[in-house]
């Protein structure tokens, strides 16, 4: 029963990882760039939320409503100011720029907030749970996170396949030159894609901040987990990313069940096993994203 409990907790954790990974997957899908500052940006969102809750004194859920548009704006400006230029340089430039950004942001957070761990307090919601049997209980907040993760993935999938902007994003991903001939400004599509990606990052960052303790260097692990969810699930598929997040979550909770210090290591090993034996991931290229 302990093991079943670990699997259930892993699935719930996977929802959070999928939420975190959706933005990474989206930016790669549209622009073919891997944003190495992805994890740090989630932690930046958590710190912005922390400031709203602790210093301004609003409720964490109201803070989410503020943090998500702020991060979307950050994404829009980031793309116009930095990343569009990096993409036009081609080659290694986008990677080098986003890596530099990740280091700079981590250090700035450390200067402003110190290296101590912090958490966004959510009161009783953090400990409430639904008891199913003696050994199995589902935390209300992890369940909420999971539901939000699944909803965001579903909404993104719907947006990309149906909305006009989603169509433009897919078209830009397929053939930039033709899209430009059709009168679409690819830089604008890129900026809106990054805005959308960072909105999901903002949401993910808030949920991370409310769920666990975080510190400025926590972004490193967040980038790695998001990446593992994307690769395990298969490139180019948002549903795959959800599956990948769950596999990673289950691997980590089972590992932690074996030995508390094995959690993260088990996740990495499952990722490496997928890479070795099924490098296209679990659900590759179901739908272009």
């Amino acid at each position: 029963m302990q093991w079943l409990n670990a699997v259930i907790q892993g699935v719930l954790l996977g929802g959070l990882y999928a939420l975190l990974a959706a933005g990474l997957s989206l930016m790669f899908g549209v622009m073919r760039i891997v944003n190495l500052a992805h994890g740090v940006l989630a932690i930046v969102a958590a710190y912005i939320g922390l400031v709203f809750v602790e210093n301004v004194g609003i409720s964490p859920f109201l803070a989410i409503v503020l943090v998500v548009p702020i991060m979307a704006l950050v994404g829009y400006l980031l793309q116009w100011g930095l990343l569009n230029r990096a993409i036009s340089k081609g080659g290694l430039a986008p990677l080098l720029v986003t890596f530099g950004l990740a280091v700079v942001l981590t250090q700035l957070l450390q200067e402003r907030f110190t290296a101590d761990t912090q958490a966004i307090q959510i009161g009783a919601l953090g400990t409430d749970s639904i008891t199913i049997s003696d050994n199995i209980s589902i935390g209300l907040f992890p369940l909420m996170t999971f539901v939000v993760g699944v909803l965001v993935i579903a909404a993104l999938q719907l947006f990309i396949s149906k909305a006009p902007l989603g169509r433009a994003m897919r078209a830009t991903s397929d053939d930039v030159d033709t899209v430009m001939l059709m009168g679409i400004d690819n830089r604008q599509v890129y900026a809106l894609s990054t805005a959308l990606a960072l909105a999901t990052v903002g949401l993910a960052g808030m949920f991370i901040g409310m769920r666990t303790q975080f510190s400025p260097t926590f972004g490193d692990a967040m980038l790695i987990f998001a990446f593992e969810a994307v690769i395990i699930g298969g490139l180019g598929s948002l549903w795959g990313t959800l599956a990948g997040g769950m596999v990673l979550g289950i691997a980590q909770t089972i590992g932690a069940q074996v030995n508390p210090s094995y959690g993260v290591l088990f996740g990495h090993l499952v990722f490496l096993a997928i890479l070795a034996f099924r490098p296209t991931g679990l659900l590759p290229k179901a739908v272009t994203a």
Partner: protein, 355 residues
């Protein structure tokens, strides 16, 4: 129409193919005296200064190896700390536990890192671009977590290097200094040799057009794997230098992703894709680190911003600026044509559109 007779190795009877230029002979005239002066270091400068220079030499080796990987091989890795860790822990384990002479333990650890990097490359090469970068990082994290679980290596709290306790501190520091200087010479010489060889020519072709290069018989994956292994060995050498200089290794310090940040910033600031660039970059990085040391982590923020600005506005880095976009070459790896028609070809070059 008669075809001109082509002699192997001769481009045209009136044209000479040259590699070295006046600037590279002049460069040699600078490099050799500098090396001689540096080699005399332990007789001239105090121990603290020698230890600082070992740090600089380590940065040069790390930058040179990362440039080989990314600047020539096109592989952006943020997981080279995996091999720094293997080199550092390898030195401690081989010298202290097995009992080999520490100066012999360093090359053995380097070879071990090279052997381990080969199977790792098969995993990492399943990914490309940015995903390759994060994949190498995951592999480094796995090695760190495994190291933490090994009691013989001190677990999470690390282990001290005691093999040097037979030496007096002055002797040890001098020997480590010479070892590190030799490491710099080896790293730069190996890179120079690779880039002047057939392999280097292949990399230039891959950089320009991977598909065309492959169709002409350049073995793209094999060349990349070779460079991956060499870069792993070079990073392990740097790891050995770090352990010998600090005498203490912990998983969090030697497997730190900060080393990858240092390497990337050094190469980007100095100039990616040149042999001179990482040397210039390491000196600038080291200088800023020393100069801004009172400001805490601000030095890394300033260097990071500098690296972003250079990537976007000065892609050839500081060395590109110093050398006038490659006119001065201390380490010539390309070929130059010299002919009576040179003036004509120069005029044609000036008229040609800029790349």
């Amino acid at each position: 129409m008669t075809e001109p007779i082509v002699h192997p190795g001769v481009v045209h009877p009136h044209v000479k193919v040259r590699r070295a230029t006046k600037s590279s002979w002049g460069g040699l005239a600078v490099v050799i005296p500098v090396l001689v002066i540096l080699a005399a270091g332990p007789y001239i400068i105090d121990r603290g200064m020698q230890q600082s220079l070992v740090t600089l030499f380590t940065l040069i080796v790390l930058g040179t190896m990362w440039n080989l990987l990314a600047g020539y091989g096109g592989m952006v890795s943020i997981g080279q700390q995996a091999y720094i860790g293997i080199g550092a822990y390898g030195l401690v384990y081989i010298a202290d536990v097995i009992g080999l002479d520490p100066f012999l333990a360093v090359p053995v650890a380097v070879v071990v890192a090279g052997i381990l990097s080969l199977p790792i490359s098969f995993l990492a090469f399943r990914l490309s671009g940015g995903y390759f970068a994060i994949g190498t990082w995951v592999i480094a994290e796995v090695l760190k977590l495994i190291t933490t679980q090994i009691p013989a290596l001190g677990g999470g709290s690390g282990i001290s290097l005691t093999a040097f306790s037979d030496f007096s501190p002055g002797r040890r520091i001098a020997y480590v200094y010479w070892l590190s200087l030799a490491a710099v010479v080896i790293a730069v010489a190996v890179t120079y040799w690779i880039m002047r060889s057939r392999l280097g020519l292949g990399f230039t072709a891959i950089r320009d057009d991977a598909v065309a290069a492959a169709s002409l018989g350049v073995r793209v994956t094999r060349s990349k794997r070779f460079v991956f292994v060499i870069a792993a060995m070079g990073s392990a050498l740097a790891g050995g230098m770090i352990a010998a200089n600090t005498l203490r290794v912990t998983p969090d310090s030697v497997y730190s992703v900060s080393y990858s940040a240092f390497m990337i910033f050094i190469v980007v600031i100095g100039g990616i894709g040149t042999i001179e660039g990482p040397i210039v970059g390491a000196i600038v990085f080291f200088g800023l680190q020393q100069w801004l040391s009172d400001l805490g982590s601000w030095y890394l923020i300033i260097i990071g911003v500098l690296a972003i600005v250079i990537t976007l506005f000065l892609p050839k880095g500081l060395w590109g600026l110093i050398s006038g976009n490659g006119r001065i070459r201390l380490f010539p790896v390309g070929y130059r044509l010299e002919s009576p028609l040179e003036r004509f070809s120069l005029a044609a070059k000036a008229a040609a559109p800029k790349e």
